[in-house]
Symmetry: D2
């Protein structure tokens, strides 16, 4: 179904930019888990606007209200978890001229072509980036559940415009590399809410400058987000169409503005030799288990986890809403009509999409753990 | 389910590299369509080995046998279409030392971690590239059905190693560009079976040289495949998790060796400004309809088709089976064990994956057309 | 997923007896339909308690609040419709002794066996009959949409204890019988809220007496509900596992307390001859279309509608909550423990289940219409 | 999808009465199970025609050919299990006059209304009772897997025409009753292939007479099948729409000719008091576990197993194909046209449907065990 994903764990998202509320229903959560709602609020805050010059000052409370799904002790109870976020502080007047004139880069025109004017237009309706808030609510809880299983997830801004951050240390898979990766992830967690989420603080400064450049030009700019999950045991996932790559890719393309995804070395594999790209195995002398010596595969072979870190990157397009005048058309009169999109918009979506990518990754990975675990020996 | 994908059109793939047969069941095909099985055989031949120096000489008949799903007139009848391909000419002896020692880059180890030795090992079992043959059988029929609806699909080798082909003409969306794209697609169709599938014949020569280099080094090399679909009307697809990007991505990652996918400008969007990446609209004076002037979006906005060509690229990793010795482990004794993979293997999988990408694209797009069409006004 | 059903139209129900709210998310509704919320409130009122001696006096407001899914004009907009009903006026104290001692006939023990004490116990949690309220909210809108397509649905109490109502006139399928059926349905609609929903008012009186007998005995009693849908064209549905019988049966067993379902002549067919049970065809001289002369099949052959009325009956067990002492066990101490269930309970659930059956039938039938329509010729 | 059912275990059935082959693909089987194909052949033989006077003498080999899904040791390997049965010995000439004139009681007309003549007509196409053979093939293996888990399934003819067999001893749930039930099941297994499957041999004789009566009258007769599953632990299943009742009902209505299903006391509950229908609990002094003292619920409460035997009955209509002349219409000329169905047809389908009910029950129950097990404590 359009607004749902997942197998044993299933997330159904509802809401529009200006509806009474937005939210989600999560089916299939294991029972007996008590979400820490303070931690969830901290996580949600990473997605909230108003954090810095790169975001719109629009203030969204984004308080998560539990409609159902918990028992009297505050633990999951086997029933669907329903989460609601009230929509407040909306200024629909900003969107008036958008009704008839589709904004380039948005879904306005394609939604009109599908629903012939019945779609909810203001603020993008169901296509709004606002719908990533319920994804963060559900995913923030999935992150906590995964952590209880020893799985850690972190993402950072790999690039904005032509500014690159240091990548996650995931290509090598020896103890030293894993320790450096753990330090990178710890650093990111400790820096939450203190500026752009990068591994290298200098990269954050240069990214801010690039975003400020775009904003000054009444323009916007895109970015790449890299995400890693550590602690996944080998044997999770499935061949062919329910592999971890399939599940994560399908879910990540549900985040507005994502236009590409790659796992491990990704598109770079096209230029590699087999002898460079294959990850040879060794027996870990300490644990007696099999370990890939390198991790070009991004932790997945044949759709199934290898025990090495899961790593992927996704491309986020520049904010389509820009104040510059663009060519468009008036759909009611079928004639050309220029458009400048006013209102409050982030000059770069990518920073606020970083926790969304973590959240969606967590939901897809938790679903893989629940739906396609290694068989009992 | 692991070996199935699709909504209203659902493909279930079965078989292992060395099982009696491989095949698929296709549910949800519209009735009354008479597949042209000669054309299907021609299409299947593009995936077959033995076409040139870049493929293994192993000869697979790959004759598609219809078990059920057609009426007496040879047309689809509303019942599931079941297609079978016999497995012949297998040399399981080649794989003997593989049983205990997982091949780097293959799913041998991850499958062992999942099924504890119950998995079918020889030739990769259900993970074998051989499973792309039934995908071509089902997809070859989907291609014919789409053609009858005015939708054309073509793919080419965008790159092998560091050799680039001319890209499809899809960024601009004016009449001249569309004509050039049509010519590119026609050229590819006419060159089928006459060497590597590129738009620029010179690129094919250089790619062959790069593949030959790898082969001489007992090594392999990867590539990128670009695929385009033209003729899709606006309004097909769905928001959030059943958008065309979601459906295509989930399906394409079902092709063995794919490690990344991007739509339209893809990862390049990260470096673009909004004013560069947004596709402005105009009214086509001839048809009176809305047309995106450019097509950075790759034909999709908010998961829904815009009427511009659908375009995506996917990265195919180098063949994991290489004759060079690699580090591995003996799973029965849990000790390090070097491995050289003998047998017949393509030094580059990407060329034979080109029709597979077309086939899977066709299945995902036909499913989108049937499952998420524009509403009746 | 446990709390969802449907294909193109998908309903996900959330909530527990004592959670903050209960509700549902409906994906896949055609756009542009403006629900009449006054009519919906009238429909919901038929399920509400406090209507007569056969129901608990507990007053539930059951006001349906739309969280999202409508456009500014009040019409469906292609986005999921999220409906919420606040939970008020709960007396959890009534359920205190139930926590450790499972109520016979309820899901208390089986939920405990599944979730080991994490389940939400008070009032039955997610198993509560209260969850039929969101089904009525979604189904009430589906009823309106079906009506706009010419499909009418009605249900009545076929029996309570040993009291039988007149059955729907559905076995014959001539014009006179259809007129009588229409009159029966009209009569039921006009009598809504004026006592037990029966075709024969005398049956209602005798049923009330039977219910009162049970109540006086601190006991409860069951019933059978018959439901009919007219106006469905031939050709809706699907062979094998997505036939109308399969879809309706799966959905109807989602109503708490239902223990059986039969279509057309149902279990009676076991005693019939083929010559008695087959429905012969004739050409309707007025319309020139094919019409089954009788309707023993209940409007379905091979899972597909025949154009004759869809008719089914389902059995509703007696209210499990009774004040009489019953044998049970204390799960915390694993010893026998007698139990008398206090609190407010209907002595017969069947009357209030009548609109629920209509609602669930409407959802399943609308899903069949949207998911498995006749093909375009 | 129309021809598939199941969640983690998914069965996709293909084939038509006269296609080259019929069969099924089973996804999600646990790995490492070695089916006993001799036992499977014995099971399939119970469904085969030619067993006695109550079946058509048409001889179908029904040899199950494994196309894929097993490893070299003959065990399931995690890949889909594909099973094929060749279609032989078909006499399509028998069905010639059926092409234009729909047989009453069959799906001929409704399929025509859906597919406008594209459907495969001869022998009923995809609607043929022949499609129950692959269900038996898949289900026969599921039965073996369940047996290895301690779950036993058996079914018998509860009634034919007005002749009743002794019911399974399932209403009481004490040790003596369970022993009697086990004896009934053992007796049925031992009598396989020796006449009609009844608990009481005298009932079989009277049923045979009733069937012979119908046959002599060029007519047919229906029946009821009762099925029981013992050994299921408590806690399997799910609330609302994926309960055991929902899953079994959806699957059982996939068997051609089934028109009703009821669990436990079924429709009888309508006439019971709560004090009669509730199953009180006791602590079993030997095992220290909770046991329902009676089993009116048929082993399911709130969709979840209680540990008591699962029991249901389904109604099978009389064979629609009868030699008597019946009213029908010529669809090509849209005029009335009488029809007598010649060819070889069972005068009663119910006996051969008994193993099919066992098979489908096994598939649905195994799916419930795999998809909705009790949570790990």
């Amino acid at each position: 179904m359009p607004s749902s994903f997942g197998n044993k764990l299933r997330v159904t998202v509802f809401g529009q930019s200006h509806s009474a509320a937005i939210g989600c229903v999560v089916e299939g959560l294991p029972s007996g888990f008590e979400p820490d709602f303070n931690r969830l609020a901290t996580f949600m805050a990473r997605r909230a606007p108003g954090q810095g010059t790169w975001t719109t000052p629009r203030k969204e409370a984004d308080a998560v209200h539990v409609l159902s799904g918990l028992n009297h002790a505050g633990g999951t109870c086997g029933a669907p978890l329903a989460l609601e976020i009230q929509n407040t502080n909306t200024r629909s007047g900003d969107y008036d001229n958008v009704q008839a004139v589709p904004r380039p880069g948005h879904a306005d025109y394609t939604a009109w072509a599908k629903w012939h004017g019945n779609q909810d237009v203001p603020g993008g309706g169901h296509f709004s980036g606002r719908l990533s808030a319920p994804l963060c609510a559900a995913g923030g809880i999935a992150l906590q559940m995964l952590e209880a299983r020893g799985v850690q997830i972190a993402a950072h801004l790999q690039s904005v415009a032509d500014v690159e951050d240091v990548p996650f240390e995931t290509v090598r898979n020896d103890d030293a590399s894993r320790a450096r990766l753990a330090a990178q992830m710890r650093h990111l967690h400790e820096s939450w809410g203190k500026g752009l989420p990068t591994i290298d603080p200098a990269a954050a400064d240069r990214m801010l400058a690039a975003i400020e450049d775009a904003r000054r030009d009444q323009d916007s700019v895109g970015g790449v987000i890299e995400c890693v999950a550590t602690g996944l045991p080998a044997g999770i996932g499935s061949p062919m169409f329910d592999g971890i790559e399939n599940l994560v890719a399908r879910a990540i393309f549900g985040i507005p503005a994502v236009k590409g995804i790659e796992f491990g070395r990704g598109f770079e594999v096209a230029r590699l030799r087999g002898s460079q790209n294959n990850d040879p195995y060794r027996v870990d002398p300490q644990t007696g288990t099999v370990v890939p010596q390198t991790n070009n595969a991004g932790g997945i072979l044949g759709g199934i986890s290898s025990g090495a870190p899961l790593v992927f990157r996704c491309a986020v397009k520049p904010t389509p809403s820009i104040a510059r005048e663009q060519d468009s058309v008036d759909l009611t009169q079928m004639r050309d009509a220029p458009l400048a999109v006013h209102g409050r918009h982030d000059p770069c979506i990518a920073p606020r999409a970083v926790p969304v990518v973590e959240a969606v990754c967590a939901l897809a990975v938790l679903d893989a753990c629940l739906s396609f675990p290694p068989e009992q020996p």
